[in-house]
């Protein structure tokens, strides 16, 4: 339960170019999204660096999904800036985001359940051979590559022909992560990868998040579990009602503070005085407002 003593990982791979260390791959500056007159997201600033894990936390309806959809190209932002490699972008399809090296692993739509594992692995980026009228799938190479890549990530499967729906939830997530890593993703967006998993399965997924990070990928880890986030995260952003409530790096925030923010702690603390007068509500354990010293997001200043 202490602040972490270091923010760097001993595991920077030699193939990660050193000059990229400080330049963010993806950057949001005061970005927001409105659907008609409903403002789903407002004033969100976020950076993703190679070899770092940026955690985005928030309760249901906090705007996490909207944030992912903007970065992955499913939706477009309506305010602020979205930069990739320092240049402003606006994706109209997920394909464009993929071409920039931004891959998303969705919680429930990561794979096509009835298709074999290897077909899922290469779906949308199939390997082919032969000239056009006879151009066909290079099935042998694909199977071999999928097997090698999965083993590389520590996933051993007996039969790549089995429908991916027969794998466990954690295994499916891992296949999706391995796929993104193989296809040269520089930024990996993980949408609540541990939400539907048991304790052990979650551990396995967290291990692959760490493995992807150690390969030099920038990871955006969406979760509402602060414990999972704190195990692998370098930077934490807490969303609340579409704005940023907390935006802090690992050395600026402790797990306790993070948990508090996640639980709506700042609001609860403000209510502490009021709640204290209600019989039956135990407020002793609630933190005082002044205890929450972590820096808050820019949105607080603008609103």
């Amino acid at each position: 339960m202490t602040k972490n003593e270091s923010t760097t990982h001993g595991a920077v791979l030699p193939d990660t170019p050193a000059q990229d260390e400080d330049a963010p791959i993806v950057e949001l500056r005061g970005a927001g999204k409105s659907y008609g007159n409903i403002r789903a997201l407002h004033g969100v600033s976020l950076t993703v660096h190679p070899g770092k894990v940026t955690c985005v936390l928030g309760d249901n309806g906090a705007g996490k999904s909207t944030l992912i959809k903007i970065i992955s190209g499913l939706h477009q932002h309506t305010e602020g800036d979205f930069l990739v490699d320092g240049r402003p972008v606006r994706f109209s399809t997920p394909r464009e985001a993929l071409d920039k090296g931004i891959a998303t692993v969705y919680q429930d739509l990561a794979v096509v359940p009835l298709m074999p594992v290897w077909r899922n692995f290469f779906l949308g980026s199939e390997m082919t051979k032969g000239p056009w009228p006879l151009r066909r799938l290079d099935i042998e190479t694909m199977k071999k590559t999928a097997d090698a890549e999965l083993r590389n990530m520590g996933i051993v499967l007996d039969d790549l022909e089995q429908p991916i729906g027969t794998l466990s939830g954690g295994q499916r997530q891992c296949v999706a992560i391995a796929r993104a890593v193989y296809f040269g993703a520089r930024v990996l967006i993980l949408d609540e990868p541990t939400a539907a998993l048991g304790v052990k399965q979650s551990g396995v997924v967290l291990k692959y998040i760490a493995a992807a990070r150690d390969k030099g990928l920038g990871v955006i880890f969406i979760t509402h579990n602060p414990h999972h986030a704190y195990m692998v995260g370098d930077h934490f952003s807490v969303l609340r009602l579409g704005t940023m409530e907390l935006n802090a790096s690992r050395d600026e925030v402790s797990l306790d503070e993070l948990t508090n923010h996640m639980a709506g702690g700042a609001e609860l603390a403000a209510l502490k005085h009021e709640l204290a007068q209600v019989r039956g509500v135990d407020v002793d354990e609630l933190p005082e407002e002044t205890d929450l010293t972590a820096p808050v997001g820019t949105s607080e200043g603008t609103s």
Partner: protein, 358 residues
């Protein structure tokens, strides 16, 4: 909570791929079970059973000429069943497939006759119209997100009405005029409706087209990117879109493929009978869909094959002609269809469950 992100050491060089390491939790299923899990095996057994049944019940079936008739009957169903099956694997339905065949034939016939041009002009115009109908269906389904059942039910009614109304308007009759004396007719008939002599038996050209198209569809489905996309958009279109599969293109092109099939069968009918009855085609779409389902295609998409529907269509052709050869009342055909459909669905369900059970 002392466990932080340093739990994992730096990524080591991956272990050299040594002798096959296995998970060990999943034993490889026996060959028989793996075979049974294939979508086309159940229908193959069913087709064989129906064939043997009529071989015994209707002695004329044993003759080569009758077999050629059965195959011809199967091929006219089978050629349309193929694109309908691919569309079903892609997660959609086309209720307009039956009347679209007639629309295509009417277009070619009336356009060529009224303008007194070479029939090939009509053939090309019919192709354009058929593809346009397919495009319209696909575009409506993709852009509105409505179930294809509703969209194509609309198209079905529109085409059914328009077929009759336009034909009456143009020819003052419910059938089109005979085009057998027109330029290019003989040539077109050779392409779409000729016969071959094989060992003294006349076999219609559609049988060959049917088998060639089936082989082509199988190859596309299992060995090309496009085939992979068909399974993906039918299995889970959101996942498919998220990993970069062109969902809109795949779905619209599948509907257009049904249009292509309708054009082909429509041309066959036109050049076989020289004239087209504008009220036909209603109800045939259900035969195509049933043949695809009996052929092992999942109604909800994402699963199936092109070979299964070949056997499905053969089963239908066999029953339709077999009843005639057995000397029974042909009205029983539809009743047989219903029984076969239910039976096939139940067998498929049972086979798939027992084959995928571990």
């Amino acid at each position: 909570m002392s466990m932080t992100q340093h739990a994992e050491p730096a990524v080591e060089t991956p272990p050299a791929p040594g002798p096959k390491e296995t998970d060990g939790r999943t034993a490889r299923r026996p060959l028989a079970l793996r075979l049974l899990a294939r979508p086309e095996v159940g229908v193959f057994l069913g087709a064989a059973a129906v064939y043997v049944f009529f071989l015994i019940a209707a002695p004329p079936v044993r003759d080569g000429g009758s077999m050629a008739t059965v195959l011809y009957q199967s091929s006219t169903i089978g050629i349309m069943t193929l694109p309908v099956a691919l569309l079903m694997i892609g997660g959609e339905f086309d209720l307009s497939a039956g009347v679209a065949v007639i629309t295509s034939a009417l277009t070619a016939s009336m356009l060529a006759y009224q303008l007194t041009v070479n029939v090939w002009v009509g053939v090309v115009a019919a192709l354009v119209v058929s593809l346009a109908i397919g495009f319209f269906n696909g575009w409506m389904v993709v852009k509105t997100g409505l179930p294809s059942f509703l969209v194509t039910l609309g198209t079905f009614l529109i085409l059914q009405g328009a077929n009759l109304a336009v034909t009456k308007l143009v020819t003052t009759n419910v059938a089109t005029d005979d085009i057998s004396n027109m330029d290019g007719f003989d040539q077109a008939r050779k392409v779409f409706a000729s016969s071959f002599d094989i060992g003294g038996v006349q076999v219609k050209i559609t049988v060959f087209y049917w088998l060639v198209f089936a082989a082509l569809a199988t190859w596309v489905l299992l060995r090309t990117k496009y085939g992979n996309w068909i399974f993906a958009v039918g299995g889970n279109k959101d996942s498919a879109r998220a990993v970069g599969v062109p969902v809109t293109f795949t779905k619209i092109s599948l509907f257009m493929l049904v249009g292509l099939g309708a054009w082909f069968v429509g041309m066959h009918q036109l050049f076989t009978f020289n004239t087209v009855q504008s009220g036909e085609g209603v109800g045939i779409e259900l035969i195509y869909i049933s043949a695809a389902v009996i052929g092992g295609c999942l109604l909800t998409g994402g699963y199936g094959s092109a070979i299964g529907p070949v056997f499905g269509a053969f089963m239908f052709g066999m029953v339709q002609q077999g009843i005639v050869y057995a000397g029974w009342n042909p009205d029983w055909f539809k009743a047989f269809l219903g029984v076969m459909l239910l039976g096939a669905v139940l067998i498929n369900l049972w086979v798939r469950q027992s084959a995928t059970r571990r």
